[in-house]
């Protein structure tokens, strides 16, 4: 409990300290290009956020699904050692079904950018 609180505090403070240090120590030579807020690839003066392609969305979805899958592995890895062959079979089935799903998605062109 205390550990957790401390880690929240330490990392939170660390982040704050870094921002402040950057502000204090960093050199400042303002020019118009630098004054623009930085955003990856999109011009700063734009109403809201621009449209995005459907392929992006599908990849994000695949990421989410596999993320859920991975989330299961962490507790399983901790218990895996005591389980022997049964554990391997259980985990293997799980991965097999998803791997076949992944092959399906790949073959259906989820990564094909056009």
């Amino acid at each position: 409990m205390l550990e957790l609180t401390l880690s929240f505090l330490v990392f939170g403070l660390l982040a704050a300290v870094m921002i402040v240090i950057n502000y204090l120590l960093g050199p400042r030579k303002p020019n118009p290009a630098r004054e623009k807020p930085f955003e990856c690839g999109s011009p700063p003066l734009q109403a809201g956020i621009g449209p995005v392609n459907i392929p992006f969305f599908l990849v994000a979805l695949l990421f989410l699904l596999l993320d859920v899958e991975i989330a299961f592995f962490y507790p399983l890895a901790l218990a895996f050692r005591d389980r022997g062959f049964g554990g391997l079979a259980a985990l293997g089935t799980f991965i097999l079904v998803l791997a076949l799903g992944f092959v399906y998605a790949w073959k259906k062109g989820i990564f094909r950018w056009s």
Binding site: G48, G50, V52, L64, L65, F94, F102
Partner: protein, 165 residues
């Protein structure tokens, strides 16, 4: 100490959810939701459930929000949504919501004030969770893979490319 953290996190969580509902800008909505998910993760951590906390942050605040943002960007809604409130519907919603809240409070009163329920003893570390997944919940675990597969196929069927293009 724990109380202070709990209070901060829960106010942050409820506040950001309220802000999400009240804000009319979709991108802001999504970001408020990230905040509420993260503070919920902190609350899970307070309950000695580090795994649930990590999953909450990784899957919800991470992956699901990326998906939300992509979806919002895909629909490409220009400007803010107009506020349309029908009086009767609002009254109806508030009434039903109040009834549900009262019901839950009545139900929860005994749990909160009385002795802890049966399930509270079953908390535990992540390794025990793994053992549960291999023993009691093995069937459920395997079905989860089926669920993920169905979601994958379904998403590709609905959002995937047309044949021949």
């Amino acid at each position: 100490m724990a109380w202070a953290v709990f209070l901060i996190l829960s106010f942050l969580c409820i506040g950001s959810v309220a802000a999400m509902i009240l804000s009319r800008n979709q991108a802001h909505n999504a970001l408020f939701l990230v905040l509420s998910f993260s503070s919920l993760g902190g609350l899970f951590g307070l309950l000695d459930a580090p795994f649930a906390a990590a999953v909450q942050v990784l899957v919800y605040a991470g992956a699901i929000m990326v998906l939300f943002l992509f979806a919002i960007m895909m629909f490409n809604l220009r400007g803010e949504l107009p506020v349309r409130v029908k009086k009767t519907r609002l009254a109806f919603t508030v009434g039903l919501g109040t009834i549900l809240l009262a019901e839950l409070l009545l139900a929860g009163r005994k749990l909160v004030l009385g002795s802890p329920g049966a399930a509270s003893a079953a908390g535990g570390d992540t390794a025990r969770l793994g053992h549960f997944l291999f023993s009691d919940y093995l069937y459920a675990f395997e079905i989860t893979s089926l669920l993920i597969l169905a979601a994958l196929v379904g998403a590709l069927a609905l959002a995937g490319k047309r044949e021949g293009s």
